[in-house]
């Protein structure tokens, strides 16, 4: 290794947001559910890796998440581009391109830029680049997928040689997650984007940023290749080349791992879990992915406008069995809209689970379901349908089992499978009184999904003044602990009316060549430069 390639592990880990505490826990062998995988434990060391071949289960057509914002786009983008802040292993925001930041008024955020930050070609980062990149993210045409995060931003301006100030139109604490590469900002340069005719993330105009990698090859829907650079402020990452292949057919992906062609398969399918687990030299790691699955009722549609009907269905949902049987234990029964990992930075993971358990406590109880239905305006039952995306087999199975469970009560549920694009249309639609949501929280902000689900224009057509008031308070509360408390209160109040029935919080499974492991593999592991977390097993 040449001297310029040496890296300092401490700076690296600090830079990538792995907190000292997390390192300590790992070192002490702490085994918190979700943090460690079931395959090999996180025992390995940071070693030089020439080539890491990764396989995604879906293909990327554009590398700029403003244009295409699937989960996998983020995993690539955060290796190449950076925001002002980044999440650490627990979901707390830590410095990225901003060495520090301060909220000077409810609507004003002042970011001090890191000294000596450079783009991958060595060009120094300037405050003008940051201002330009914010404008790019806010542009609905250039960044249709992230522009809405910036809708409340009034302006971004250079306020010093090394300082950028962002002003909001109205207070919103959730904004802190905006300027983050895990969410809605990848700082790039105006000269580069304009030199490419305004394009970004295409093979002609490759993603360009300040991160530890640069894109050397991109064939849309086929593969992308990244090469490390020595310009990153966090040091030189241990993996020299990352080659990412898009293999949409899971059986083929398993074969690619078995033949040793790929090292890492991200988001493997639970349907083929045994295939993965039986593959030679392969470990499977699990981690919560901050996803939420739950029933949405359109409370404006009959008979779901009747709380007794909603409660009857809620009592008929056997979450524990679903998680154990359908999801083979790789999920967690959900009791709230917030996922535990979104408040773990405030309450700790166990504290988070405990607090969320108190939000909605409706155990599986068919007798109670019967009683509730008898009290409703349709005591003899009713017929309804639910549209399920064909890309969600477990959800379809859940509804089929629910249909069986409620049949004796006279409730007839018809499960209609459809392409995911048609399923979008069922969300909040008056044609679908019974629907579901499968939502991946992009950020660690606890209000991310609830601000939609409990806000105006929510899919349940639900309104409750007390909840609206609490959500407004949460928007302005800058103390994280108090904010979590308010959000929990809002959920408790709202879920008592059962506009939604949380079902489970998901886990993502990742298969990896057993030569390697991912340090402290958790919910946020792939949302900041993650290759320094790939350890070689001793």
């Amino acid at each position: 290794m040449s001297p310029s390639m040496q890296f300092n592990r401490r700076t690296l880990l600090a830079g990538t947001g792995v907190s000292a505490l997390a390192m300590l826990i790992a070192a002490c062998g702490g085994d918190d559910k979700g943090m460690a995988g079931n395959g090999s434990a996180s025992s390995g060391s940071l070693k030089e890796i020439d080539l890491l071949t990764v396989a995604f289960p879906s293909s990327l057509s554009n590398l700029y998440p403003g244009q295409e914002a699937g989960n996998f786009n983020y995993y690539v983008a955060c290796l190449v581009g950076e925001g002002l802040v980044a999440p650490d292993g627990t979901g707390k925001l830590v410095p990225a391109l901003a060495s520090k930041w301060e909220q000077t008024s409810p609507t004003t955020y002042v970011y001090t830029l890191r000294d000596g930050a450079k783009f991958s070609d060595g060009t120094p980062l300037t405050p003008e680049d940051v201002v330009y990149s914010v404008g790019l993210s806010k542009d609905e045409e250039k960044s249709p997928n992230i522009a809405y995060y910036w809708a409340n931003v009034d302006k971004a301006e250079k306020t010093g040689d090394n300082e950028v100030t962002i002003t909001l139109a109205s207070p919103d604490v959730a904004f802190e997650w905006g300027p983050c590469a895990a969410n809605a900002l990848w700082i790039t340069s105006q000269a580069y984007v304009e030199g490419n005719g305004g394009e970004m993330g295409t093979p002609k105009a490759l993603l360009y940023g300040t991160g530890p990698y640069k894109v050397t090859k991109f064939e849309p829907d086929t593969m992308v290749e990244l090469e490390r650079v020595d310009t990153w402020w966090g040091g030189v990452p241990p993996v020299k080349t990352v080659r990412i292949e898009f293999i949409t057919e899971e059986a083929t992906r398993v074969l690619a791992r078995k033949s040793g062609d790929i090292d890492l398969a991200i988001s493997i399918s639970l349907d083929q879990l045994s295939q993965w687990e039986n593959a030679a030299d392969t470990s499977v790691l699990f981690a919560p992915d901050r996803s939420y699955v739950g029933i949405d009722f359109n409370t404006a549609v009959e008979p779901f406008d009747d709380i007794h009907v909603r409660r009857a269905i809620a009592y008929a949902c056997d979450r524990a069995t679903v998680v154990e049987k359908l999801l083979i234990g790789h999920a967690e029964p959900a009791t709230a809209l917030i996922t535990p990992d979104q408040i773990s930075s405030v309450l700790g993971l166990e504290g988070a689970r405990k607090a969320l358990k108190e939000v909605l406590d409706l155990p599986f109880d068919l007798d109670k379901a019967k009683e509730e239905l008898a009290l409703s305006k349709v005591p003899d039952g009713f017929s309804t349908k639910v549209g399920v995306s064909s890309s969600a087999p477990q959800i379809s199975q859940f509804f089929q089992s629910l249909a069986e469970t409620v049949k004796p009560l006279g409730i007839n549920i018809e499960v209609e499978e459809m392409p995911v694009e048609q399923w979008y249309d069922t969300i909040g639609s008056a044609d679908w009184g019974l629907a579901y949501m499968w939502y991946f929280n992009a950020t660690g902000d606890p209000a991310e999904m609830s601000s939609w689900f409990l806000g105006e224009g929510n899919p349940a057509s639900y309104s409750n003044d007390a909840v609206t008031e609490l959500m407004a308070q949460a928007k302005e509360e800058t103390d994280p602990a108090k904010r979590v408390e308010i959000l929990l209160e809002a959920q408790k109040t709202a879920l008592a009316d059962i506009p939604y029935i949380p079902l489970w919080w998901g886990e993502a499974a990742t298969a990896i060549n057993s030569k390697y492991t991912i340090e402290d593999f958790g919910s946020y592991s792939l949302l900041s430069p993650w290759t320094p977390r790939i350890l070689t097993v001793d």
Partner: protein, 332 residues
């Protein structure tokens, strides 16, 4: 003088039964067919449920204004006919529009993928012809022999086996166990590309080769039973001369079917593309249809239809050149 000459030449070219007239008429008919097809596909896709703007942003809490601005950008709110005419006008100027899903021009999106699909279809076609036609002839010649019976039995398996299963089986055997061929992807160009396409091409060819085998066998047997063969034999023509006569006649239906085989291959690569992680037009079409990415669906449909129409035309021209009866009568 010149004008009169040109006119005479033109009428000659377009006279009944001339090949040029035939080609011109067929091309005009193809143009009309494409126009009708484009309208039908546009209308069908328009009628399917789903909103491309919503598909673009996915499951996100976006404002109605944002959805509106995406719809405006792609003219999704215009009345149906106006959307269609807008698209048609651009196409007539060589502009196939922009993909809603990928935000790049359809031409850019298709260029690499068409090459890959063409390569895959061509390799598969060559394999089909090289294997199925000689086997079909041999089986017909020795009808009832062990060769005939075993290949016929194998062809039933070939026709029946689902593409996906054949693909995975080949991957297991040749990709994993024997480790001869790569498991996925389209390679780094050049020879590597062709190497990557071998298993997919065999997968595609397996069912088709079985069909072409049966067709060739039947055609040759039918010719062998013709009176002229017995007559030629009685006149003492050599075995070789008879074979050449029989084959020439038998090849007419075979050639026609081969044209269709190629057209089918070009439009039927989707399952193989997905199984082998190849990014051709098949997988793009599938994704674009569910997304309602109209410009892409239209471009692929028209492209496939054009390939089919041109292949059929080529076959007919070959037919004309090969068969003296048709040449005398003129193509119809």
């Amino acid at each position: 003088m010149d004008t009169a000459h040109s006119y005479r030449r033109l009428t000659q070219l377009l006279s009944r039964g001339s090949l040029t007239r035939f080609v011109i008429v067929r091309l005009a008919a193809t143009g009309l067919l494409l126009l009708v097809l484009s309208f039908v596909v546009f209308a069908l896709l328009h009628l399917t449920p789903g909103d491309p703007a919503r598909n673009l942003v996915g499951v996100r809490n976006v404002t109605p204004e944002l959805l509106q601005s995406i719809r405006d950008k792609y003219h999704l709110n215009d009345p149906f006919m106006s959307q269609y005419l807008h698209w048609l006008g651009n196409v007539l100027h060589g502009d196939f529009g922009e993909s809603i899903r990928n935000n790049t021009t359809v031409t850019t999106l298709l260029s690499d993928r068409v090459t890959l699909t063409l390569q895959l279809a061509s390799l598969s076609f060559v394999l089909t012809v090289l294997v199925a036609v000689p086997l079909g002839i041999a089986a017909a010649w020795r009808s009832g022999s062990v060769l005939d019976r075993s290949v016929s039995a194998a062809s039933i398996v070939g026709i029946g086996a689902p593409t996906y299963a054949v693909g995975l089986l080949l991957l297991y055997v040749f990709g994993l166990w024997l480790d001869i061929f790569p498991v996925y992807g389209s390679g780094d160009g050049g020879l590597d590309r062709w190497w990557h396409l071998v298993l997919p091409a065999i997968t595609l060819a397996s069912g088709l080769a079985a069909m072409v085998f049966k067709l060739t066998r039947t055609a040759v047997i039918a010719e062998l039973n013709q009176d002229y063969v017995a007559f030629a034999q009685s006149r003492g023509l050599s075995h070789r001369q008879i074979r050449s006569l029989v084959l020439r006649n038998a090849m007419i239906p075979v050639a026609t079917s081969l044209g269709l085989v190629f057209a089918f291959l070009f439009g039927g690569t989707i399952l193989v593309e997905v199984t082998f992680a190849l990014q051709g037009i098949g997988s793009l079409l599938a994704g674009s249809v569910t997304f309602k990415d109209l410009p892409v669906v239209q471009a692929i449909t028209l492209l496939t239809a054009t390939v089919i129409a041109l292949t059929a035309l080529t076959v007919d021209i070959l037919y004309y050149l090969v068969d003296p009866r048709v040449r005398k009568r003129g193509p119809r």
